[in-house]
Amino acid sequence: MKFDKDSLYKLGKLSKIQIDESKLKSLSSDLGSIIEFIDRLKSIDTENVDPTSNSLDQSLVMREDIASDVNTANEILENAPQKELDFFSVPKVIE
């Protein structure tokens, strides 16, 4: 299977990754070869098989909802590329 230009751009939009025009050819062939590889599974009979999402035979563990003072706003904002007051700051959105 080959990915054409339009489907690669669509995939890029969905993934929020810009597709570099100079890499279209190599990307198409790389992704094509991965899809060809995973397409092998199509012939396997999975009728009446339940999907496994997690290998652990245990339901998710809940914990007490207790407030703690780790990861405070100030600490977290230290890593923000841009901040204003106590907020993350992003380019203006006008709709």
Partner: protein, 491 residues
């Protein structure tokens, strides 16, 4: 100081006051400096390490040890968040990230008094089998072929963790394993690598790749070391909802290397004409060894073995594409400015991620996208059930399974195939284990005709790490593999 000091030996030397944590830490910091060429570390935290070592020595003087291994210097894969120490996942997008919290795994090490020397290089976001996808450049394997001077890959993704232990730049290290990322590099570097049962070790604070497969574990010089470090990092963590509530055992003290009466399965699907003769011979020799030590060999089948790799390359990228959505230039990491919010996201991610990570995000997005979700993602989850069921049935008949760890020994850094699928084949023997969630260990067994280490993999049922370590110790003690790489990198 003895070369290649192991974890247990280091503990004894500290206990008998033949060395101090500060002395050990200084020795290792010096070794790290001399091994710059191997590129094992992304960050060396010398100041903090010496500070921690001093505190450990003080605790020892005051008789207030945190554990019997208090003061031993280790290395930490740059995938574990470490408070106030840069944590990058070897990615440009996190190249300025300094966590404000400590991962549970590294906190457990701190609670045992271990001293972190720094953060070890790895494939970007743990995606790779060569350590070549790192933003900080490839790690070089300390081993070289006796026929060539070419630099070899250490394997990946925990390439820095494995190479640092093999080159004796730390006593032991921490890695993570999503599809073989502890066992494959351990195999390529003549070290011991343990991937625990899914849920044994908390994932909290470990940068996520594929959450249903990721599991942290030790890379060490001996099986006893693996038992000791595993015991330190394992245990239930309320902060990880998939963390097992099972009590952890005293894996080190309970080591018992007898294999008498044990049934060892040999799966027919792992036999291949493509397997190098030396790997085949090592596998055969290990079978004979276990047999002469009293184990019984059982020919068996894991019918869906060859379906595991394509299944993995649906599930892992799908989970990755979702996990890596958080890197968007807003909360942490780098940002590339754009005309509007969407363009800022796209530019940040295009500049911040490397090619392999982008490929996996795109594939993951594709298999999860409308119209393909059932055909790929649900299908893969169903085949995952079949793979798990193969192992469940196998463990009704056998105690453990023995296979090679990798289809080849370490290869040249310059010789990686251009087709990504060819690189993925490195993990063909390790990936089924992650899909089933069971534990496995790679141990060095022999060297091939180029004098490069060959690793063998032992696999047991969920939460049977004790049995796994016991059998591994039996093999280790019988084969007595003692090769170490020649230290050509020392200036």
């Amino acid at each position: 100081m003895k070369r290649n000091l192991n974890f247990i030996e280091a503990g004894s030397l500290l206990e008998t006051s033949e060395t101090t944590s500060v002395e050990l830490t200084k020795i290792y910091l010096e070794k790290i400096k001399e091994a710059d060429e191997l590129n094992c570390f992304n960050t060396v935290s010398a100041e903090q390490a010496l500070d921690e070592a001093e505190k450990s020595d003080l605790r020892r003087q005051q008789g207030k040890l945190k554990s019997r291994f208090d003061g031993i210097p280790i290395g930490v894969k740059d995938l574990f968040c470490t408070k106030n120490i840069k944590t990058t996942a070897s990615s440009r997008i996190l190249s300025n990230f300094i966590p404000s919290y400590e991962s549970t795994v590294t906190q457990n090490c701190i609670d045992a008094g271990l001293v972190s020397l720094g953060k070890l290089n790895c494939d970007e976001f743990a995606m790779g089998s060569t350590n070549k996808t790192s933003y900080y450049g490839p790690v070089t394997n300390p081993w070289k072929s006796n026929k060539s001077d070419a630099k070899l890959v250490p394997g990946g993704s925990s390439g820095g963790s494995a190479a640092a232990v093999a080159a004796d730049l730390c006593v032991a290290s921490l890695g993570t394993d999503t599809g073989g990322s502890i066992r494959q590099p351990a195999s390529f570097t003549g070290t011991v690598g343990l991937k625990p049962t899914y849920g044994r070790v908390s994932r909290w604070g470990t940068i996520a790749f594929a959450s249903s497969l990721d599991q942290a574990g030790p890379i060490t010089k001996t099986v006893e070391d693996a038992a000791a470090l595993f015991e330190i990092i394992a245990g239930h963590d309320p902060k990880d909802s998939t963390s097992s509530t099972k009590e952890k055992e005293n894996f080190l003290d309970n080591l018992n290397s007898s294999v008498k009466g044990m049934k060892i399965g040999i799966p027919s699907e792992f036999k291949s004409d493509d397997l190098p003769l030396s790997t085949q011979k090592a596998w055969d020799d290990c079978k004979k060894l276990l047999q002469s030590n009293g184990a019984e060999l059982i020919d068996m089948s894991l019918p869906h073995t060859m379906d595991a790799l394509p299944t993995y390359y649906i599930i892992a990228p799908a989970e990755a594409s979702s996990n890596l959505a958080r890197y968007d230039g807003v909360k942490y990491g780098i940002r590339e400015e754009g005309k509007n919010l969407i363009e800022m996201y796209e530019k940040t991610r295009s500049v911040g991620f490397g090619d392999e990570v982008k490929r996996r995000i795109l594939i993951g997005t594709y298999v999860l996208s409308s119209g393909y979700y059932d055909a790929y993602y649900i299908k893969a989850q169903k085949i995952r059930s079949l793979i798990k069921s193969d192992f469940n049935q196998a463990f009704e008949k056998v105690d453990a399974i023995l296979t090679p760890s990798t289809p080849s020994t370490a290869f040249e850094i310059e010789n990686e195939p251009t087709d990504p699928v060819q690189t993925y084949l490195n993990d063909i023997f390790t990936v089924p284990i992650n899909l089933a969630g069971i534990p496995a260990i790679s141990i060095p067994f022999a060297n091939d005709e180029n004098d490069l280490p060959i690793g063998l993999q032992l696999i047991t049922n969920s939460f049977e790490e004790q049995k796994l370590l016991n059998i591994a110790k039996n093999v280790q003690d019988t084969v007595n593999y003692e090769s170490v790489p020649k230290n050509w990198w020392q200036k």
